[in-house]
């Protein structure tokens, strides 16, 4: 795909984030969509392309009153929205539609109108993983961690520092769920969830949503907000079974999606001013830094523990506070994208000065899927 041909011209989260007991999941989609429409100063009737995950496109389109000529229901977990951005950019370039709305919402905490997630007993996961006691992401996502730590000499303290640094970012963000400072000792003394991970190394569980509006770069200049261009994109999938990953020393999906996006954008790692790595759990930034090629895996833990990703550090990472401290409704990818867009617009609560290139890397369905978007505010 050619770089900088498509831009984000509307971006918004739900009016509230956190605990929203007065809205169903479907209404959260609508709330985010209406906020994004207002942000772009468009009408719903201007939308001719639509993408969402978990909820079906037909469900959300009908609820909103949209008649699209292009839809994408790719649903590969929390990074689905990175894939939607990639697919939407291709669709706009191909002339299949002009103005795409992407929505995410999840009543992850209040569970109102939330679709059930179940594992059929005759699926491969139901036969070869569920019988051994996996029960939701906290028991599955961290399964590779001990191997990763042993292979690369990563310490428990380094993994705890991921949560500490992200809380520093969250403290600067009025909309972050958790803002009080924490120490490595606080993390290592918090309640055990699934060894080696404790409570403060696991994502929050909240309600919320977000929406993006994309159009061609040529049209984008006529919109009220500063356009944020899609500079590069990548995607891949590996396996829905964490036990069947090729290796626990890296993620194959990360290693495909990340370099694809960098190559398409034509950038080197030193060009990255701002970085988002979907952090459902504390090990993901380490996998991301290694798999995206920022540094050897052995150095990832020390890099974060030494403060290189904290406010004022040389590689600002997860500047909204991340899934660990900002919010995590179940599919966090949309919120990572929102923060990248805010940073590129120059309006983030913890704004990185003069940031021109933002890399936003997502993971989905444990390590099942991945999507990477490179944004820029210069064409």
């Amino acid at each position: 795909m050619r770089r900088n041909q498509v831009a984000v011209v509307g971006a918004a989260e739900t009016t509230e984030l956190g605990v929203i007991p007065n809205m169903s999941q479907l209404q959260l989609h609508a709330d985010a969509a209406l906020n994004a429409i207002a942000d772009a100063e468009l009408k719903l009737s201007d939308i001719d392309g639509f993408a969402t995950a978990v909820e079906t496109p037909q469900q959300v389109c009908h609820y909103l009153g949209i008649t699209p000529t292009w839809v994408d229901g790719t649903s590969v977990g929390g990074c689905s929205f990175m894939l939607h951005v990639r697919h939407a950019a291709a669709a706009i370039e191909a002339g299949l539609c002009k103005t795409v709305l992407i929505t995410h919402a999840e009543s992850g905490k209040s569970m109102i109108g939330k679709l059930p997630r179940s594992i059929p007993a005759d699926s491969l996961q139901g036969q070869f993983e569920a019988p051994f006691g996996v029960y939701g992401p906290p028991s599955m996502f961290p399964i590779p961690v001990l191997r990763f730590m042993k292979t690369y000499g990563i310490t428990h303290e380094q993994l705890a520092s991921v949560a500490v640094v992200q809380r520093e970012w969250a403290a600067k963000n009025p909309r972050a769920m958790m803002k009080d400072p924490i120490t490595v000792a606080d993390v290592l003394n918090s309640r055990m969830i699934a060894y080696p991970f404790r409570l403060l190394q696991c994502c929050l569980v909240t309600d919320g949503g977000g929406a993006l509006i994309l159009t061609s770069a040529d049209r984008a200049k006529d919109f009220p907000r500063k356009p944020v261009y899609i500079m590069g994109t990548g995607e891949s999938v590996e396996t829905p079974m964490v036990s069947q990953m090729e290796t626990f020393n890296s993620s194959r999906a990360f290693k495909v999606a990340g370099p694809l996006a960098f190559k398409e954008a034509g950038i080197a790692h030193k060009d990255v001013d701002h970085l988002m790595i979907y952090d459902a759990f504390a090990h993901l930034p380490l996998f991301g830094l290694g798999d995206l090629g920022f540094m050897p895996y052995e150095e990832t833990g020390k890099f974060i523990a030494d403060g290189n990703t904290r406010p004022g550090g040389k590689l600002p990472l997860n500047t909204n506070g991340g899934g660990l401290s900002y919010m995590h409704s179940g599919m966090y990818g949309m919120y990572a994208l929102q923060e990248s867009v805010r940073q590129m617009r120059g309006i983030a609560p913890a704004q990185v000065a003069k940031a021109k290139i933002s890399v936003c890397h997502g993971v989905g369905g444990m390590f099942a899927a991945s999507g990477t978007i490179v944004f820029t505010n210069e064409r």
């Binding site: 594992i119 059929p120 007993a121 005759d122 491969l124 139901g126 036969q127 070869f128 993983e129 569920a130 019988p131 051994f132 006691g133 996996v134 029960y135 939701g136 906290p138 028991s139 961290p142 399964i143 590779p144 961690v145 001990l146 191997r147 042993k150 309640r191 055990m192 969830i193 699934a194 060894y195 080696p196 991970f197 079974m241 964490v242 036990s243 069947q244 626990f248």
Partner: protein
């Protein structure tokens, strides 16, 4: 009220041989007749070279502890926390999720790379699960 039950696998035509194997006290894997790739979970073709000529064989049941978590909460129905959810790398190459028996469920007792051997845990007349214990000697 009945105790909540552990999730029970329901075999499909492609996995039937595996679950018949565990019932008979055998851990069965598949090997490609064309490229010799050994793979898991079961399917009637080779995921490496796409050949449909594959054979079922009895694996050694030996392997080592590749990685694990010790789950505290939330616990799956039928499990008493803390319990380890392990991934075992078999000597034949494939990895599988399982549980570790005859061992304390602690980081001290569960060392990565420790040698393991298969054991069989009968759930009911239809399903026997492959689990692993520290290898003797």
């Amino acid at each position: 009220m009945a105790e909540p039950q552990r999730a029970r696998p329901k075999p499909t035509p492609e996995t039937q041989h595996f679950w018949e194997g565990t019932k008979a006290g055998e851990l069965r894997l598949q090997r490609c007749d064309a490229c010799a790739h050994v793979y898991f979970p079961p399917r009637p073709f080779c995921p490496s070279c796409a050949s449909r000529k594959v054979s079922i064989f009895k694996a050694s049941g030996k392997g080592f502890l590749y990685s694990y978590v010790i789950n505290h909460r939330p616990a799956a129905p039928g499990f008493t926390p803390p319990y380890a959810i392990a991934v075992v790398e078999l000597d034949e190459g494939p990895r599988m999720m399982s549980n570790i028996i005859d061992s304390p469920q602690t980081p001290e007792a569960l060392e990565l790379d420790m040698k393991l051997e298969v054991a069989f845990q009968k759930l009911d007349d239809n399903i026997t699960l492959p689990v692993f214990r520290p290898a003797k000697g």
